[in-house]
């Protein structure tokens, strides 16, 4: 039963999830700030672009600490590699990463969040919009992944 649904075991997933939850909780406990990651990408463009969408009060106010969140995420990955060794490099073709990233960027900005922003922070804030977005993007992604399995590797 457990091996059917979790062929690689469950401990790394449970501990990983616990750490993800703690990492998102730490800034909130001290400062009340919510750790959505997708808005970093638009906040970074706000340094170069003058359009109202890039220059909203929220991006201008939050772009300072968002760099530190990103530095933390990269450092966390590095710390893992130093502790446990470098995991295998992905074999998913570059164009799928690029195209997927592009759609993820457009979709996150259009719907107002990503996996951490909607599925964790938004749901934990009991936001209806996050529940709707999470159900839709999860269902779409499952359908797409199952269909593309027939086309891609």
């Amino acid at each position: 039963m457990l091996e059917t649904y979790f062929p690689l075991g469950i401990s790394q997933y449970a501990w990983g999830g616990l750490l993800v939850g703690l990492g998102i909780s730490i800034p909130f406990i001290f400062t009340g700030l919510v750790t959505g990651v997708s808005s970093f990408y638009t906040a970074a463009w706000s340094y170069l672009l003058k359009g109202w969408f890039f220059r909203s009060a929220w991006y201008l106010k939050s772009r300072g600490w968002k760099w530190w969140l990103v530095a933390g995420l990269i450092s966390g990955g590095l710390l893992y590699a130093l502790a446990y060794g470098t995991p295998p490099v992905t074999t998913v073709p570059w164009w799928r990463l690029l195209l997927g990233g592009f759609l993820v960027g457009v979709g996150a900005r259009m719907s107002g969040g990503c996996t951490s922003g909607h599925a964790i922070c938004g749901l934990a804030s009991l936001e209806k919009v996050s529940l709707v977005a999470t159900i839709i993007f999860l269902t779409t992604a499952i359908v797409v992944a199952l269909l593309t399995e027939q086309i891609f590797i």
Binding site: Y5, F6, P7, L8, I10, Q12, Y13, W15, G16, G17, L18, L19, V20, G21, L22, S25, I26, F28, I29, F30, T31, G32, L33, V34, T35, S38, W45, W68, L69, V70, G72, L73, G76, G77, R96, L99, G100, G101, F102, L103, V104, G105, G107, A108, G112, T115, A124, S125, L126, K128, V129, A133, I136, T140, A141, I142, V143, V144, A145, L146
Partner: protein
């Protein structure tokens, strides 16, 4: 300054957790989306439970955070056509690639270098969408 320090420490724990769970590897994410290994559901579930208790607990016990103006928990954003279309586009991208904005960054830290293509893609997507929206009158 405290916002930057706590974001760095939080991001570090967050990124380490993503790497430990294998969420920094598109193969693992895709095996979840293909329903071959439900591990990622456990990652999101456990993380959500922790954050739910912390968000709801702290914002009820304390008037305001020790080093901030207010706890940013709210249910104010309306569900619009944009929410729905955006979530479908997000799901399309996630299903094609197995990447998302946070895992791509943590993946770069682990040495999973091809994820730089995902990061470039996300930067491009947010740029194009922002430029299109900028041509329209400001709304929320």
């Amino acid at each position: 300054m405290i916002d930057k320090i706590t974001m760095y420490i939080g991001g570090l724990v967050f990124g380490f957790g993503l790497a430990l769970a294998g969420a920094t590897r598109p193969e693992i994410v895709l095996s979840f989306l293909r329903l071959e290994d439900l591990g990622l559901l456990l990652v999101i579930g456990v993380a959500l439970l922790v954050v739910l208790v912390v968000y709801q607990g702290f914002s009820r016990i304390l008037q305001k955070p020790p080093f901030g103006e207010a706890f940013d928990v709210h249910d104010g954003f309306p569900v619009t056509r944009r929410t729905i279309v955006g979530a479908i586009i997000f799901g399309l991208g996630w299903g094609i690639s197995g990447i998302c904005p946070a895992t791509s960054l943590a993946a770069l830290g682990t040495g999973n270098w091809p994820l730089i293509f995902a990061v470039i893609g996300i930067f491009t997507g947010t740029l194009i969408y922002g430029l299109i929206r900028t041509k329209q009158p400001p709304t929320h």
